[in-house]
């Protein structure tokens, strides 16, 4: 009766980043199901289908062609059915302004893309573990802010 895996989705235009991301999740103890999309338009097209299985965590790259991560974030936040989905920004930017702006617009997590694979595994593991706490303990998602 309990879901025993975490469903994560990433939208990122960089093919290498998508590959590292997927491979990092294979290394985690927690069972996950990972899907990736190559840009914001592609992601939103998939996400707004009516019978979509809503992910537990959605990772958004900020700088993507056609539709940016911030635009996706704002669109998703307007839709009630995604209110229990955690949104993580996954970006190379470490500008304080970017970070605060995404939080204010409803992001739960901000991840500065790590430079090495080992750190990436650690960071993603932390995110999934903490999200799992929110998921299984009914913690208040409005107060869920995490920066890594």
């Amino acid at each position: 009766m309990q879901e025993n895996f975490t469903h994560v989705v990433l939208a990122d235009d960089d093919e290498d980043d998508r590959l590292f991301f997927t491979e990092a999740f294979d290394e985690l103890k927690i069972k996950t199901k990972v899907e990736t999309y190559k840009d914001g338009v592609d992601l939103m097209h998939w996400l707004i289908q009516t019978d979509v299985l809503i992910p537990n965590i959605l990772f958004l790259d900020l700088n993507m062609p056609k539709k940016s991560g911030l635009e996706c974030l704002k669109e998703i936040k307007k839709l009630d059915k995604f209110k229990n989905m955690a949104i993580a920004i996954y970006s190379t930017s470490s500008s304080e302004e970017d970070i605060e702006n995404t939080f204010v617009n409803g992001a739960n997590i901000y991840i500065k893309k790590p430079n090495d694979f080992k750190t990436l595994i650690k960071v993603l593991s932390d995110v999934v573990t903490i999200n799992w706490q929110y998921h299984t303990n009914g913690l208040n998602r409005d107060n869920f802010l995490l920066r890594l």
């Binding site: 706490q133 208040n140 920066r147």
Partner: protein, 187 residues
């Protein structure tokens, strides 16, 4: 107009469960800690329907003994953190071991196995959650919150907050305020 409500989750959940139990005409006894004794045998498909009804409230029947014990542990920890009225003078490890009747070593291993995190981390997480809700909903200063939650100093709370969430309490407060402003005046 905008109002804020404070919820007693345990009370709300218990009421939902009791109403549902009555709706299904079950004879039962509430044992506390999310444990219910059914005083009759119930067909498995009826139990399934019961579970499905509860699922719509985000409540579910848990089956595994380990999961049950971990749930009791979590409830005890949450109770310990959020009910600051009860004065717990012993270390949390001693308190939890006594309350649940198992050695702390056993509880600690079990907890890590089921939840992928340690009891210590879970306690910190809950304390920081409590701090966040106090920052968001009350006018208390961080110093007052630190005192309320038995931190030795406001610096200790600040550091733990930053380590857990990656942002400072002040930044958290600012972000929540800006979110509210944005919700009131959408761009």
């Amino acid at each position: 107009m905008r109002i804020f409500v404070k919820c007693d989750f345990t009370k709300a959940c218990t009421k939902v469960i009791e109403d549902t139990l009555s709706e299904f005409n079950f004879k039962y006894k509430m044992l506390g800690f999310g444990e219910i004794e059914l005083l009759q045998t119930v067909a498995s498909d009826t139990l399934k329907a019961f579970d499905a009804t509860l699922n719509s409230y985000g409540i579910e029947i848990i089956e595994n003994q380990k999961v049950i014990l971990v749930q009791k542990l979590k409830d005890a920890i949450i109770d310990m953190v959020f009910n600051e009225d009860q004065n717990i003078n012993v270390k949390s490890s001693v308190y939890l071991a006594e309350k649940l009747g198992h050695s702390y070593g056993y509880l600690s291993n079990l907890f890590s196995e089921v939840t992928y995190t340690s009891i210590e981390n879970f306690i910190i997480l809950q304390k920081i959650e409590y701090t966040k809700s106090l920052i968001a909903k009350t006018e208390l200063s961080l110093t007052e919150i630190a005192f309320k939650l038995n931190y030795s100093s406001v610096a200790h709370l600040s550091t733990q907050f930053k380590n857990t969430t990656g942002i400072t309490p002040t930044a958290f407060q600012r972000i929540i305020a800006k979110r509210r402003a944005l919700a009131n005046n959408p761009q």
